[in-house]
């Protein structure tokens, strides 16, 4: 469903992503891991159209989407969450999600339908869906859920979940992992899940890609990748992320 070839991004000469290639099948959960600054979020920003790639090709369901605007890519069926949550603080939680349902889909829906969808998705991720609830009352875990709810409301076929669950406690992490598993299982959404802590992710994903300094250094089943000497080196080398 997604095929990325030779993807690169440089920020003023600094290569944040370098010649990354991978493919993704419908229904898969792919883990994307790597130490801080290895280019995971940048890869998401390229696929989702937040930045145009410097080089490389991105095929989504046969369309070349490299360089399209973020709104177009969203309509084609790619939803994404931001690692650092970006809630619309002046809008209620319900409106945050309702605008996503209204504008994010491939086909037009009515306003009231968008609101109903918003309430449904908020309930799914476990957030209050009453009209007055605002983003201000949410903690780190709640804001992550809001990111997820907004992305889901656009009815994506592919979800780019930039979770990086730092800041959450063990219970919240397991909850988040369980939610992603359900999204794939019940809604049939293909997922790429970004995380730099390996533990939780390895239990959920089908396959893992490891980035380091913008380059892909390993790919395979979680168990194989965990044994890969280069991966071990990268993770032991950057203390604190093992």
């Amino acid at each position: 469903m997604l095929e990325v070839t030779g993807l690169s991004k440089s920020f003023g000469g600094f290569l944040a992503v370098s010649q990354v290639s991978f493919a993704l099948a419908r229904g898969e959960i792919l883990g994307l891991i790597g130490p801080n600054g290895s280019g995971k979020s940048t890869t998401f920003n390229l696929i989702a159209g937040t930045y145009p790639p410097s080089e490389g090709r991105i095929l989504f369901e046969g369309h070349d989407i490299g360089g399209l605007g973020a709104d177009r890519i969203c309509h084609l069926g790619i939803g994404r969450t931001f690692q650092i949550p970006r809630p619309f603080r002046k809008l209620s939680l319900c409106d945050n999600v309702a605008v996503a349902a209204y504008y994010g889909r491939n086909q037009a829906i009515a306003r009231e339908e968008a609101r109903a969808e918003a309430r449904r998705v908020l309930a799914l991720v476990g957030l209050p869906s009453d009209q007055d609830a605002m983003a201000d009352g949410l903690g780190a875990a709640g804001l992550k859920k809001l990111e997820l709810a907004r992305a889901l409301a656009t009815q994506p076929k592919l979800l780019l979940a930039d979770e990086s669950l730092g800041g959450l406690d063990a219970g919240e992490m397991d909850q988040a992992a369980e939610l992603l598993r359900r999204i794939r299982g019940e809604m049939g959404i293909t997922i790429i899940w970004v995380e730099h802590i390996m533990g939780v992710l390895m239990k959920v994903v089908d396959r893992v890609i490891v980035l380091d300094h913008g380059e892909k250094i390993a790919e395979g089943k979680p168990a194989e990748v965990a044994r890969d000497p280069r991966v071990i080196e990268v993770y032991l080398g950057s203390a604190g992320h093992g």
């Binding site: 937040t50 605008v99 504008y103 656009t154």
Partner: protein, 325 residues
């Protein structure tokens, strides 16, 4: 409160207002009333986009274009304002497109957007002055009067009541346009854009398109207001109707009244016109500078201490009382 519940008193008030001219109020009162209605419409038009962080200083241009196009067509070719006004509105919309599209594509926002639109205003003013052969330059111009002074074809009326009704209609139309934006998903989408364009685009909002849409609506309404103002005043001047001065007047009045509330710009129009008149009467012609200075200082105080305007402050107080009760 339901929409109907909110509009019923407004409709009743509008109907009552429409009857006012029938009681033959003094000409001076009618003159103030017409100005308040027309400026309320124009300030509302500006706030339709201004409230989403799209602070334009280019509205002097839209106002001037809307005003001059029908007047020039009338004077030069005898074209009726019924055709001239739509053409003026169209030209204002086109200039909004020419300035808005590149700005929004290139993500020119905030102060930079204000500066670019400011340039547009000055271009409009200077163009009018440069074309002095037909516009009269900085001396201004007068649309050719019709004999007797009363003509639907020329949209000229001696009796101010006609302009009162036209102004009332336009003002209500402006409020309706405001509601139309609020009743669609455009309101939360534009709020989202104002807060975070990247996040808005990520959930499929066509940022450029939506901003452009609301800008064009605002420009069109402003030009329409300018056209009505020109027909009413029967005198057009680039300094007072197209330059930086008028753009700032619009922004100040809208902010002072409260640009986030539907009736805020209307309150701003009442406030600024009454204030101007009071100062003019208090100082007469002896200290013209003093009146302007006091006016300016008062507006600055308003903007510093009441950033959400008078209506915003009232809403806040009411909410606080509601929460306590």
């Amino acid at each position: 409160m339901s929409d109907r519940g909110r509009f019923l008193p407004l409709g009743a008030a509008a109907l009552a207002l429409a009857l006012v001219p029938l009681f033959g109020p003094p000409s001076y009162v009618m003159h103030m009333a017409v100005q308040i209605l027309l400026w309320s419409f124009i300030y509302t038009a500006w706030s339709i986009m201004g409230r989403f962080g799209l602070v334009s200083l280019g509205h002097g241009a839209f106002l001037g274009i809307g005003m001059y196009v029908p007047a020039l067509l009338w004077n030069l070719y005898g074209v009726t304002p019924w055709l001239g006004i739509p053409l003026g509105v169209l030209l204002a919309v086109l200039s909004a497109l020419v300035i808005g599209w590149p700005c929004f594509r290139l993500k020119v926002v905030g102060h930079y957007f204000a500066l670019v639109t400011l340039a547009l205003t000055e271009v409009a003013r200077l163009s009018i002055i440069a074309a002095r052969d037909i516009t009269g330059g900085s001396l201004g111009m007068t649309p050719k009067p019709v004999p007797g002074g009363h003509s639907w074809w020329a949209l000229q009326f001696v009796d101010k009541a006609y302009f009162f009704w036209i102004g009332l209609g336009l003002w209500l139309f402006g409020l309706w346009a405001w509601r139309a934006v609020d009743r669609s998903m455009r309101n939360p989408a534009l709020e989202a854009i104002a807060e975070d364009e990247t996040a808005a685009a990520a959930i499929g909002i066509g940022v450029t398109r939506l901003k452009l849409e609301v800008t064009l609506i605002s420009a069109a309404l402003t030009a329409l207001g300018g056209a009505a103002m020109g027909q009413y005043l029967q005198y057009l001047n680039p300094e007072t109707h197209a330059g930086i001065g008028i753009s700032l007047q619009i922004v100040f009045a809208a902010i002072a009244g409260g640009m986030y509330a539907m009736l805020g710009p209307t309150v701003g129009a009442v406030l600024t016109l009454v204030l101007t008149e009071a100062l003019r009467i208090a100082f007469g012609t002896t200290l013209i500078g003093a009146a302007n200075t006091i006016y300016g200082v008062l507006l600055i105080l308003f903007i510093i201490f009441m950033p959400r305007g008078i209506v915003g402050l009232i809403e806040e107080r009411l909410r606080a009382r509601g929460a306590k009760a």
